[in-house]
């Protein structure tokens, strides 16, 4: 076995592979130390903490890109005793997580400075959560999956309750903890069944062992699939497992909602895709289960969002709907379909974080997350309204934003992989028609309506904090350009998934033909 070498010692290769994680860990510790050293909590010190975190995040991203550039051929390889797998997919997903983290850090500072005195811990926590997500998206072993998931989840519970003096934040944290603990328990039970059936925690061993069950309707097998899927659906906040999301998103501090809706969700998709592509391809109930969940998720998400008055709640339901769209790619399970999900996640990262950045900014300006309070905002902050409109239109899938391209590519991939799912695409498209109604309603209030009192009270010129401003600029640019220049990104997405699929060509082809 060529892997024996790697099985025995942690070599230089392994260390280089996890270099981004190492940098992030060092950054996390550095921030904790710096927080302890800065007692005064002056503006200056706080800004310094944010800058240091940004440096570490960007350094980690640079290390990742450097590592990636070192290996042009990108042969998949297992690392760290087979616990992680260095493949294109792991690089793409980790890069997205780090980009999401960077934007989160940049947009959260202005919010934190206004609402709390303890700022450093926040950065340490989001970095820790992202660390979990990064392990999750490279995981090649059930143990690594669980460690990654728990690191991500537990830090997220704490983050949701970050403004501990606010009742809503504490409530959100508690709710998330209870629901999340339940989800983890179910997941762990499912994984124990996987282990029981296959006798291994390593993905490729499990895949080989489970291949023997092809086409068998074993009750334990079914229980295992249902448990793992239910837990994943919970993490992805897919209806009917989405109940926690609106409450948590509304109650949690806005930057945390942004983080949960994007970075946490991307990590959850990464592990879902990996589990499904590597371990469970071609399992009987897969496509049917995901079809039901996809339809439920987009329909419930969109129709409930229509009635929302709080913008964070609205965006929560919108993320539920978006998870539903993305599931259509998993339903067909082809590398094109799943690859389009990865591309969709890339665009979603920028448009959703951008939308939350606008919510943060509006919250600072008006002191409210009520959609009504945005009335007539265009007359005070035309640039910001333009940015928010671009994000919302991208979420709705209107050209020439990236969201339009992402939806088109996804649905094209679904039909090209299996035209029998044309109906599912039509359902998704009808849903996105519905979604435009609530996205455009926000634009209507901001642009069409005359200003509200809250908006009238906003001073004409206040300078935008540079971090928030540059994060917004980057997100707008990405949302506008990611679609038009999609070619290369699309290649990475599809190729990364192809590598996962190639692992077991026989089983996969059966899975696709069904």
């Amino acid at each position: 076995m060529p892997e024996t070498m790697a099985m025995n010692v942690i070599g230089q290769k392994d260390m280089l592979f996890i270099l981004p994680e190492i940098i992030l860990t060092v950054g996390l510790l550095a921030i904790l130390c710096l927080t302890m050293m800065t007692h005064k909590k002056t503006r200056h010190e706080n800004a310094g903490l944010m800058q240091v975190s940004l440096v570490f995040v960007l350094g980690s991203l640079a290390a990742l890109i450097w590592q990636f550039a070192q290996q042009p051929s990108m042969e998949p390889e297992t690392m760290m005793f087979g616990a992680l797998r260095a493949d294109l997919f792991s690089y793409v997903m980790r890069a997205m997580l780090l980009a999401g983290l960077g934007i989160t850090v940049a947009i959260s500072h202005a919010f934190l400075e206004r609402n709390t005195k303890i700022i450093g811990d926040f950065y340490a926590l989001v970095m820790g959560a992202t660390l979990g997500g990064m392990v999750l998206s490279a995981a090649n072993d059930l143990a690594a999956v669980f460690i990654g998931l728990e690191t991500l989840s537990i830090t997220s519970y704490v983050l949701a309750g970050y403004l501990r003096r606010t009742t809503r934040s504490a409530e959100a944290s508690f709710k998330y903890l209870v629901y999340g603990g339940m989800g983890t328990a179910i997941f762990l039970f499912g994984l124990s069944l996987v282990y029981g059936l296959s006798g291994s925690t390593n993905f490729s061993d499990i895949a080989t062992a489970l291949a023997a069950y092809q086409g068998v309707m074993h009750p334990t097998l079914l229980l295992m699939v249902i448990m793992v899927f239910a837990a994943l659906a919970f993490k992805l906040s897919i209806a009917p497992f989405h109940m926690w999301a609106p409450d948590v998103y509304e109650g949690a501090p806005t930057p945390v909602s942004a983080f949960l809706s994007v970075v946490s969700k991307t990590a959850a998709f990464a592990v879902t895709i990996r589990l499904l592509m590597v371990i469970f391809p071609g399992f009987p109930a897969w496509a049917e289960l995901w079809t039901i969940l996809a339809v439920l998720s987009m329909t419930i998400g969109n129709f409930v969002a229509l009635k929302q008055r709080n913008v964070k709640r609205l965006l929560a339901y919108s993320t539920v709907a978006h998870a539903g769209y993305m599931l259509t790619g998993l339903v067909v399970g082809s590398s094109a379909g799943v690859g389009s999900i990865v591309y969709y996640l890339m665009t979603y990262l920028f448009m959703n974080l951008g939308a939350f950045a606008c919510v943060i900014y509006f919250g600072i300006l008006t002191g409210s997350d009520d959609i009504e309070s945005y009335r007539g905002m265009v007359q005070k902050r035309p640039g910001l309204v333009l940015a928010f409109s671009i994000f919302l239109l991208s979420l709705a899938g209107i050209p020439i934003t990236a969201g339009f391209f992402a939806k088109f590519f996804l649905f094209q991939a679904v039909i090209m992989s299996n035209p029998a799912y044309t109906w599912l695409v039509i359902v998704a498209l009808l849903n996105s028609t519905v979604s435009l109604a609530y996205y455009i309603n926000i634009i209507r209030l901001m642009v069409v309506k005359e200003p509200s009192d809250a908006v009238n009270a906003i001073p004409a010129h206040t300078s935008t904090p540079w971090a928030l401003g540059s994060a917004l600029t980057i997100s707008v640019a990405a949302t506008l350009l990611l679609g038009v220049f999609a070619s290369q990104f699309l290649n990475y997405s599809t190729e990364s998934v192809k590598q996962l699929v190639q692992e077991r060509p026989v089983v996969v082809s059966q899975g696709l033909k069904r």
Partner: protein, 540 residues
């Protein structure tokens, strides 16, 4: 000229305007002037480019690799059918900008930015030669139109605007599904197929089952029928038209509806001849209802703008009738109707707009005797209304004549297949005669409208109204000039697109003749999906 990417310049120049406008100083005069000069330049360029490419003797086409792995490329091109609509667009945009002088007061920067984005999208639709690009521009038009109606419109503008958007998006759902389905079929036959029109237009000829063809046809058609608008999908239009400000009504009626008819002709009828033959009876039937029913509804309107809006729907029914005739004359008539309807309806909405800016009412009952106080407006109103009701030597006449002639000559169907093997004994000739009632009704509501609005005693409150301003006179005169010119020299217009449009009708004559031959002597041919499936058994 040869090297210039003329089509891309036309598509993206307005978009560049839209990006410049927000950075201009906020002065009304300057913004109006900039937009007038800009749209004037666009119009001049479009004419020059058209003349240039005609002289060069080959259709303009531009290509750029975009997303090769998905078969998507930036691909635009123009034959004369496209050119006619492009020039109509640039001309009407110029007219709309001029009409904005008197009717738009607030937030001019956003207004012009949206107008120019809209222009880009429309030109993109007419010039796209790749189905993805077509769809992209088709959707791009939505948001500018939404804002244009919802900010500068009448009292119920927000309702009208969202209704417009949701109706259009609902149509796009089925269009996108059909586009993807068509691409799937093309790719299964030829793995190197792309979204280019050239690759997809021939798909139906490769022995595709008629049932599938009909599905694809209907998918695309739904989007176009909503835009056209076809009964029963027309209910967004009266709302949108009535609430939209004058220049936007002109653009809506003048060009946006043409996106629907253009798509029908090029994509549905051009690509799926067999499906079109099967569906033609129903389309003609609905077209007849369109013409007669909405003309009747127009007769009952108390709101002047609503009356004109319904008359616009009624006249778009002629496009359906002409297309359903499935012959060269009918197709030419349909395209001619697009052009003349574009000019006439824009003119009628301009008349309504000039009245509204003076009186701030659209209720016909509150008007009267305007002929005495507004003689210039009266003159143009009379001329354009006469053109609309189809008076010879004016723009509407040749179009409607061609459509009627084509439909009357047509042997598209003798009976309409109905449920359970029964047939409706309505031939296309009968339906043509029925739709002629629409013309009579048209004359009735237009003349009655003229009588109530412009004749009779002057209401005391209107006695000191000011006659048309120079910019209004210019718009009305330019539109009227073209309406008269088209009426006097219909050949000049029809000869432009005749060759392409006749070629589109080519497959139909042979196919219909064969279907007729296949029916036993003495029986009336019933054309349905069955007629084709019989043949397929042999050929496959």
């Amino acid at each position: 000229m040869e090297q210039l990417p003329v089509l891309s310049i036309l598509i993206f120049l307005p978009l560049i305007y839209a990006l410049i406008v927000p950075f201009l100083p906020n002065e009304k005069r300057l913004l109006h002037t900039f937009s007038t000069v800009g749209s004037g330049l666009l119009f001049v360029l479009s004419v020059l480019f058209w003349l240039g490419t005609t002289k060069a003797g080959r259709p303009a086409a531009e290509f750029m690799t975009w997303l090769p792995q998905l078969g998507i490329h930036y691909n635009v091109g123009a034959d004369n059918l496209s050119w006619v609509l492009v020039i109509l667009t640039t001309f009407l945009v110029l007219m709309a900008v001029l009409a904005s002088y008197t009717s738009i007061e607030k937030r001019l920067k956003l207004y012009y930015a949206m107008i120019f984005t809209l222009t880009s999208a429309i030109l993109g639709v007419f010039l796209a030669r790749d189905l993805f690009v077509f769809f992209l521009f088709w959707e791009l038009e939505l948001i500018p139109m939404y804002l244009l109606i919802s900010i500068w419109g009448g009292p119920r503008r927000e309702y009208a605007a969202i209704k417009f958007v949701l109706y259009t998006l609902f149509g796009s759902v089925f269009m996108l599904a059909a586009i993807l389905g068509l691409f799937f079929i093309a790719r299964s036959a030829d793995p190197s197929a792309t979204f280019a029109f050239a690759d997809l237009s021939g798909v139906s000829a490769t022995g595709l089952a008629v049932g599938t063809q009909v599905l694809l046809f209907l998918g695309l058609f739904t989007a176009f029928a909503i835009k056209l608008p076809m009964v029963p999908f027309h209910t967004w239009l009266p709302d949108a038209h009535v609430e939209a400000p004058t220049p936007i009504s002109m653009l809506l009626a003048g060009i946006l509806l043409k996106m629907g008819s253009y798509g029908m002709l090029r994509l549905c009828f051009g690509w799926f001849p067999e499906a079109a033959t099967v569906l033609a009876p129903y389309l003609v039937l609905i077209g007849t209802i369109n013409i007669v029913y909405t003309a009747g509804v127009a007769l009952a309107q108390a709101d002047l703008k609503k009356l004109i809006a319904y008359s616009s729907v009624s006249h778009m029914g002629f496009v359906l009738l002409g297309l359903g005739a499935l012959n060269a004359v009918g197709f030419n008539g349909a395209v001619f109707q697009m052009v003349s309807h574009g000019l006439i309806s824009a003119g009628l909405f301009m008349i309504v707009g000039t009245l509204y800016t003076r009186t701030h009412t659209r209720q016909i009952a509150e008007m009267g005797g305007f002929g005495k106080v507004l003689p210039t407006v009266y003159f143009f109103a009379l001329l354009i209304a006469m053109a609309s009701l189809g008076l010879p030597l004016l723009g509407g006449f040749p179009a409607e004549t061609l459509v009627f002639y084509g439909a009357f000559l047509s042997n598209a169907f003798k009976v309409i297949p109905w449920f359970g093997g029964t047939v409706l004994t309505l031939s296309i000739q009968t339906l043509t005669i029925i739709s002629a009632i629409g013309v009579v009704l048209g004359a009735a509501y237009l003349l009655w409208m003229l009588m109530r609005v412009f004749m009779g005693p002057v209401f005391p409150k209107w006695s000191d109204l000011k006659d048309a301003t120079p910019s209004e006179v210019f718009v009305l005169a330019a539109l009227s000039f073209l309406i008269v010119a088209v009426g006097l020299f219909p050949n000049l217009v029809s000869s432009q697109f005749e060759r392409e449009v006749t070629a589109m009708a080519q497959p139909y004559s042979k196919m219909i003749a064969e279907l007729h031959k296949a029916t036993p002597k003495g029986q009336i041919p019933v054309i349905s999906m069955m007629s084709f499936s019989k043949n397929e058994g042999g050929t496959r």
